[in-house]
Symmetry: C2
Subunit: 308 residues, 2 copies
């Protein structure tokens, strides 16, 4: 799957992933009202609203980008109906040939971690049958519990040719509270990055590993260091746009071949119609506003890579 991701990035010339994190407040009134008319102001109604919202955006951007990243928390907050909308979104994006990164940040140990890995990337056995419950292509994983938490994911990745992105340095202001603490003269995130490189050796694609890393756009200098610590890891870079990261900050995350990183934007794309820059589209044409925002982001990143 890492090979497919790299191929699609080359083909679209867009190292961009669209974060499908649909807060209800982002969903235009007319989409909400239509869903509520059908299901009432219920969890089912909210789930229908975010699903229809996602579908419209995916239809407008699927030819421009290689991948999407649905954030499962935004679905989980609407309970079981919300999680059904998550599953439907994953399925629909895959039918559009998009690579799907499940932003699930799961992390547990042993058989519990295996259950998450199976549920999201693999197949679960029921009697004599097998099912792929959520079936994303990649998942994000929290490293705090160490190899016991990550290895069950790697096992499933090897079987299914899928991948993970391990949290190394997150984009948020307080990420430093633990991640930046110095251990033997290097910050914790660097130690985690070394483990990512080690884990990654167990499952290499053609040029990059199935085991990638998350490093926030808001810390470009760290991107520079981590690029060297994990040369074969694809770096998933959150924090572009709404969180403050800009194209010029991103060049460090890429290798000389112009590959090695994929930049996420969520709010900046899916709620583009709410920004002054795209207000002319109006809420009725929010999908077109998202498409315009993707095109602007692509140009911003390409210009930063060209100046590298």
């Amino acid at each position: 799957m890492i090979n497919k991701l790299v191929e699609k990035i080359k083909k679209t010339e867009a190292p961009i992933v669209v974060g499908l994190d649909p807060m209800l407040a982002y969903v235009p009134e007319h989409v909400q009202q239509k869903a509520f008319a059908q299901y009432g102001e219920t969890l089912e109604g909210a789930a229908e609203a975010i699903w229809q919202f996602n579908k419209e955006i995916v239809d407008h951007v699927c030819d421009l980008v290689p991948a999407v990243k649905p954030q499962i928390a935004m679905y989980e907050q609407f309970g079981v109906p919300g999680l059904a909308a998550f599953q439907k979104t994953v399925e629909y994006c895959k039918s559009k040939d998009l690579v799907v990164i499940g932003d699930i940040k799961r992390g547990d140990i042993g058989s519990t971690s295996a259950a998450y890995a199976i549920g999201h990337l693999g197949k679960v056995r029921v009697g004599s049958r097998e099912y792929a419950p959520f079936d994303e292509d990649f998942a994000t994983v929290n490293p705090y519990l160490g190899s016991d938490g990550v290895n069950p994911f790697i096992k499933v990745c090897q079987e299914e040719k899928k991948g993970i992105f391990v949290l190394v340095k997150t984009s948020n202001p307080s990420s430093g509270e633990f991640q930046d603490r110095r251990i033997e003269n290097r910050p914790l995130y660097e130690h985690v990055g070394e483990m990512v490189a080690e884990w990654g050796e167990q499952c290499m694609g053609d040029s990059y590993s199935y085991v990638g890393a998350v490093v926030g756009a808001t810390y470009p200098e760290i991107g520079k260091v981590m690029r060297k610590v994990m040369p074969k890891a694809y770096i998933l870079v959150p924090g572009y746009g709404a969180q403050g990261g800009q194209g010029k900050d991103l060049a460090h995350f890429f290798n000389e071949d112009g590959l090695g990183a994929i930049v996420n934007s969520s709010r900046g794309i899916i709620a583009a119609y709410k920004q002054d820059a795209y207000a002319q589209f109006g809420p009725e044409h929010f999908g077109e506003a998202s498409r315009a925002a993707v095109e602007a982001m692509k140009a911003d990143i390409q210009s930063a890579l060209n100046q590298k």
Copy 2:
């Protein structure tokens, strides 16, 4: 909710939480077959099997213990139907007046962390209505992302009088890879524990905080230190039984008042009928085997506390 937990621990004299982590392999054949007869060998069939399994165990132990801890991964692996079984389990346990600790180990930032907190402990707004989607009493939380990840949970805990247990030192063998690394002469988990104490000051119950911590039974010496670092935090102690922890290892996790810790056992209780010690019950009477295992665990812990 921490007050209710403490009260119930005093009343039952059992600082014990039953981990409802139903692997399908633990569910007796006759329960599986009945579920498959109704729903086929499907995700719905698996979900029905684990739900019926849980119900039988809960019916047999609910008067003996204060709390249960369903591990969401074991449900999530069966997709949306599995998560519906999780929700049903939470609801049923609450109807039996058990305190429910959702072992979800979520951790993200800002609005995403808020979405998890709302989905599991709080209420989500849909139009003019509000719903409590999963509605556990406590949730486990991963600290790797720092305060940005934990504060949204604390906000919901303050509003709803609910609680969290933050992962400090987990019970698994590789937990030391990152958690034990030394920062300014103390291991990372100790720094996390200090933050737990600090976060906990923002939401105190009568004698303990709504913010507790997870420290594995497999590391009793660490329990001793962490008990002092976080005097007001309830410690959720996994790793008893199947993972190797024994009653005598546990005394350190408790305060002088005999409170301050609650010990989890999952496999050792819910799959007791598979152990030689309880084989006489047979798979048909797996609920009674679980009850006997709870009684043995209660005696083991009480004797350790008496020797303290």
